[in-house]
Symmetry: C2
Subunit: 152 residues, 2 copies
């Protein structure tokens, strides 16, 4: 059993991810795998800790794997899968998030294409937003670099 702190934190993490489009159980599994000291759990452990059905866990784990949020390893002599969060790739995940946002500019460009010139100021704001998105996207790698340097 998990203590109250951990349980509550799992729920918070669950809700956070839920609000970004994950289905509820997926977010909770992410929370669980973050909170467990060993940072991993088997299928059955997940079922027990979160008190949900096997089918729900099976489904959630598969989606999480497809989205590269988790992976699993096996241990010698065991058939069980040990699922864990691919924390070593947080940069990738975060970069994806950021690029995701800057996807706004792809459709904003299309907005500009279909808009007439009745509201030049409005159009100009859209232009600016697009430009900034470009700017930001290009900037991301150097942000990571700069960060790494500041750590060294």
């Amino acid at each position: 059993m998990l203590n109250e702190n951990k349980l509550e934190l799992i729920e918070r993490i669950g809700v956070f991810h839920e609000q970004r489009g994950m289905q509820p159980l997926m977010g909770r599994i992410v929370g669980l795998l973050l909170v467990l000291d060993e940072a991993e759990a088997t299928f059955d452990e997940i079922v027990d800790y979160l008190n949900v059905s096997k089918s729900a866990v099976s489904n959630a784990l598969n989606i999480l794997q497809l989205q590269n949020h988790i992976a699993y390893k096996t241990k010698h002599g065991e058939r069980k899968r040990y699922f864990y969060i691919t924390m070593d790739r947080w940069e990738e995940a975060l970069e994806k998030e950021l690029c995701d946002i800057s996807e706004i500019s792809t459709f904003m460009k299309d907005v500009l294409k279909v808009r007439g010139d009745v509201k030049p100021e409005f159009n100009h704001h859209i232009q600016n937003l697009c430009s900034f998105m470009e700017f930001l996207k290009n900037k991301i790698p150097s942000l990571f670099n700069e960060f790494k340097k500041s750590k060294a």
Copy 2:
């Protein structure tokens, strides 16, 4: 009536926002207000263009206003409201989005608090993620500045 291009673009914009947690009609209204040459529409126009019920529009418009995505103005001698996207504040909106993401670090810090030291490497990755989030958050204002300078 809107042409095929605009209609399709409205749907794309709708889906984009839907995936980030807006209810369907809200996203479509945002699309409509972006795509219309006048960049504004009355309540009834929205009902007609999108072919939905007044109740749905009323509800969606209220939420969009609460979230500061849209606003309305009135015109002399008319009672009608002209709703429009507050495009002049795209920086604010974007900054909010970015801060929203970096909210990850608030619960990641709590994760570190409850985690033991069994997996120091895992913990270290979390540390790094948190640090980068801080770094990014602090960097946002100077990114806007740098962008403005590059435009001038």
